[in-house]
Point group: C2
Chain length 352, copies 2
């Protein structure tokens, strides 16, 4: 039987797991990375750094809800499943260390496809020094699903909570916004051909890069107040910060780092690039606040310079935190009108 035609239903669970561990290679071992026992016992046995805070988060991807098998390669699905979790650790100012992967598999799925997912996981795990230490494998008759639980660490004084924003803080954003939503819109319009037209936007959607290295530089500066990763669009993430911090945010639409290529694609598709930045989601950039007051614009410029030099990623100053009785997010439009933005997730259950 050729491997490429072997299906999940044809293979024993234990044999499948053995293959997947083989695909993981070093990403499934990790001696010297605090792993005393990884895959292969009832639970992983780990040793974290003394005094460090332990970080834990889960993010699930469900076929047809979070990804589309006609757009994504198995490697991309695997990469993204881990990437969105790495982004959660980055948003706390932490270092990702270990992950557990739960796979729900359709019986008719080819084993080589599942191995592809694991190749993607192994690849990105290796890039960020993360070890896959366990998980679960189950039948999922209708839809492929991948749930990753990520564990990380952060230095005590460097944990970046959503609640850390204060009046006068500057609001900064890493990298660029709306690329992922533009990539998705292009894929939905043109299928696989989208890649020829705007490879970097399609990649932003299918293989987002978590800002782990950027988060490390930012929190080490000691300047970060609150931080969030932009998984649900800037409006929602800022709203979460002001809710948790008990203040409000105002930013200028014109300052949002929306790339020219996104503007161009939006014009072509008749879409609004600002809407993509605010609600499109899945950019996995970081939005953060940095303490304001005297000399703060200079400090922000220095931080931006430092970040660029260390990681190649830009940092844009988009607005300010201010004090109000109610927490709200306001945007100053290009015509100077101020509009209040509502968060996503307050409409009917979408479950993304």
């Amino acid at each position: 039987m050729r491997n490429s035609k072997l299906r999940v239903a044809d293979i024993a669970e234990a044999a499948l797991i053995e293959r997947l561990v083989g695909v993981l290679g070093p990403a499934g071992q990790g001696s010297g990375q605090g792993v005393l026992r990884g895959i292969g016992d009832d639970a992983a046995v780990l040793q974290n750094v003394q005094g460090a805070r332990l970080l834990a988060a889960c993010d699930i991807l469900v076929e047809g809800v979070h990804f589309d098998l006609s757009f994504s390669s198995p490697e991309q699905i695997g990469r993204k499943a881990l990437a969105v979790n790495l982004s959660d650790i980055a948003a706390m100012g932490g270092r990702p260390r270990w992950a557990l992967v739960t796979l729900g598999l359709k019986p008719q799925l080819e084993v080589s496809f599942v191995e592809g997912i694991y190749r993607g996981i192994a690849e990105i795990a290796g890039e960020y020094g993360v070890v896959i230490v366990g998980g679960d494998t189950t039948a999922s008759p209708d839809r492929l699903l991948i749930d990753v639980c990520i564990l990380g660490e952060a230095n005590r004084m460097e944990v970046a909570y959503r609640s850390g924003a204060r009046e006068g803080d500057m609001i900064l954003v890493t990298g660029s916004l709306a690329s992922s939503a533009a990539g998705l819109a292009l894929l939905q319009e043109k299928g696989r051909d989208a890649e020829k037209e705007a490879k970097e936007l399609v990649e932003a959607h299918l293989s987002p890069v978590p800002r782990v290295k950027e988060a490390a530089v930012l929190v080490q500066s000691g300047l970060v107040g609150a931080m969030n990763d932009i998984s649900d669009g800037l409006a929602t993430e800022l709203w979460e910060i002001v809710q948790a911090s008990g203040c409000s945010a105002r930013f200028w639409a014109e300052r949002l780092p929306i790339p020219p290529l996104v503007q161009q694609v939006a014009a072509e598709l008749g879409a609004d690039p600002l809407e993509w930045a605010l609600y499109g989601g899945e950019d996995y950039e970081l939005v953060l606040t940095v303490s304001g007051g005297k000399g703060s614009p200079l400090r922000a410029r220095r931080l931006a310079y430092k970040l660029k030099r260390a990681t190649g990623t830009g940092l844009s100053f988009i607005g300010r935190i201010f004090s109000t009785r109610d927490s709200k997010v306001e945007m100053v439009r290009s015509d100077e009108e101020v509009v209040e933005l509502s968060p996503r997730g307050y409409d009917h259950f979408s479950g993304r």
Copy 2:
């Protein structure tokens, strides 16, 4: 609109999460339980005990694969989702501390049903001092699914690996075997009426009790070699121990703690109670080895007495570990014939 008719599709995700956090109550907070930040940030921020080992495991339940909505109440589903994970921590000799819960919800599901699941989770979390610190919520169009990631701790010298069995060790089993499989068989035969006939067996299946307190007593004795929880039947769990330890196991069928009620139900249904004990699974008892040699039967009796007094749970001596070139599991039948047992999970993918 009456709450009992409100469906997942009718409510915003943020509102649903708020309700579920309300249902959790104290089980979602946990001040003083090492929780610096629980639900409501990008990741939970935790502080574990210095020098302790960190334990991590995941177990997913999928509708129609692991549970049946016509047998289980939402509270039972919630309890079981956490119980099977608590059992994994018990099997390592650890204390469960924190859990992350990922829910995949069908849009037509009633919100009150989801709250019922969370009531079950809150109940058992409270019983074992576990705090729910995070998770994810998503749409899962076809099937309800619950993936729990459990985090625990163990004292350095008390971690019970599968690989800890040595030649001459005694093999012990907590509580009783085959009750869960008997309960499932009864449910499949008689539906909800099964409960009238054999409530304790049905409960053993729908609401298994993880042996967390028992594991603590056992590892504190300093006598435990290897340990496993019996999720896939005794044969498979013993096979995993001998594989990891590089030795073999032999036990007597007649010594297995199969309750009279199970024997009775098996006779009624024309089933083999021994088969249930070996391969039925989901008993969530512990199988462990205790060092052999001079005076060992007396030590085992003392340990059994201590366990009974502390927890009310029995401990049965069922066999011995011995040395061989190949790792195997042998059972001495009542007619004295020795048969070799194969593990489960080596047939086609069932994914349980």
